[in-house]
Symmetry: C2
Amino acid sequence: MGKVYVVGIGPGGAEQITPQAREAMARADVLCGYTVYIDLVQPLFPEKEVYTTPMTQERERCRWAVEAARAGRNAAMLCSGDAGVYGMAGPLLQLCPEFPEVEVEVVPGITAALSGAAVLGAPLMHDFCVISLSDLLTPWETIEKRLLCAARGDFSICLYNPSSKKRADYLRRACGILLREKGPETVCGWVRNIGREGQESRLLTLGELQEEAVDMFTTVFVGSSATRAVCGRMVTPRGYEGKP
Amino acid sequence: MGKVYVVGIGPGGAEQITPQAREAMARADVLCGYTVYIDLVQPLFPEKEVYTTPMTQERERCRWAVEAARAGRNAAMLCSGDAGVYGMAGPLLQLCPEFPEVEVEVVPGITAALSGAAVLGAPLMHDFCVISLSDLLTPWETIEKRLLCAARGDFSICLYNPSSKKRADYLRRACGILLREKGPETVCGWVRNIGREGQESRLLTLGELQEEAVDMFTTVFVGSSATRAVCGRMVTPRGYEGKP
């Protein structure tokens, strides 16, 4: 019986792939994932068999991996960032009742909230929320409720999937909701192409963020009421300002 | 002029230290941090100079690191997990106005929310909040507000610092707040000593969690209304159950 590894490969560069993730990919007989992620790691394992699928065929990919394991082969499913944050760990584990004999190991990776935060400074130092603006599987009303609750709780907020061709105004709409509770001067930031060629980042206010055009390769950060721009970095204090 | 690296070393094992983190520690002339973290990495850099301080002397540690950089030495400040999540990245960057000439690089690591989640399964697959129950720097009223907002938003929740000698009943109190909005059957989990000798984990309901004794080495996960126990793993779906 083979095993399925669900592996977070981080933002994309080899320097943020953990040894545990590399080991899982080395042990796998086949690497399975969205084409872009396979392309990122193939240079590390040039002889390794790969199985790629388009972005939306996630259930097929999961089923393929567990079938491979049942046939005695180790399969590593690759995810950008962390496998357990909007990744493949959930869908894979949800198949478990159909394949209870297959062992699944989840290997954590550096999700965009952390890699993007490190570029901007330290926006997530204290309590924070991570919210996806993608309404492909989640009603917009639910996303609105989460944005409102996150803002009312004065959390720092990290927004995934802030934009796509079909959802060009979702960030604007999300900012509109946040502005019900947060001031327009709230310190925000975004990072595009984290850890990859063409990485860009910017600090700006929430009011400016509402007008900002971002794409699907961008991760957005909205500060708490205590977040400040310090020497061009986005910094959220760990507690009350002024305390040691 | 030296440089300061603020490095997340992950839960503690070498297998979750990224190459980027290892490189930063290799480039440093001195490793600086809480004794426990220095002890974890010293075997990787047996010849490296180290500077250790007790847990609470964080400002002194930051100041020491920037002074070392000003004197021309590279200093790496080590943090458990990720440097930008309840770590040293914020305090270090807050010193920047006093030391604007010193370059600071934040190196992300695997924070407990991610490493613990991977042990339990996939509890943070969808929108989630991270909240610390430590009221050392944050008023309990603020923590209560955040717990309530996180519960109202139906987020999955990861609780850091759930307990200490002085705060033995904080998890119980936190669960009491969550139970105002969440059902007692809500799927929860905890992981103790993530990635280290003596790692333990357990799935349980929110009602059971309220009675559970946990220690300071434990990370606690509270599911959303959609979270389920599947084959003994804690799994939160990415969207509405039943959708592809």
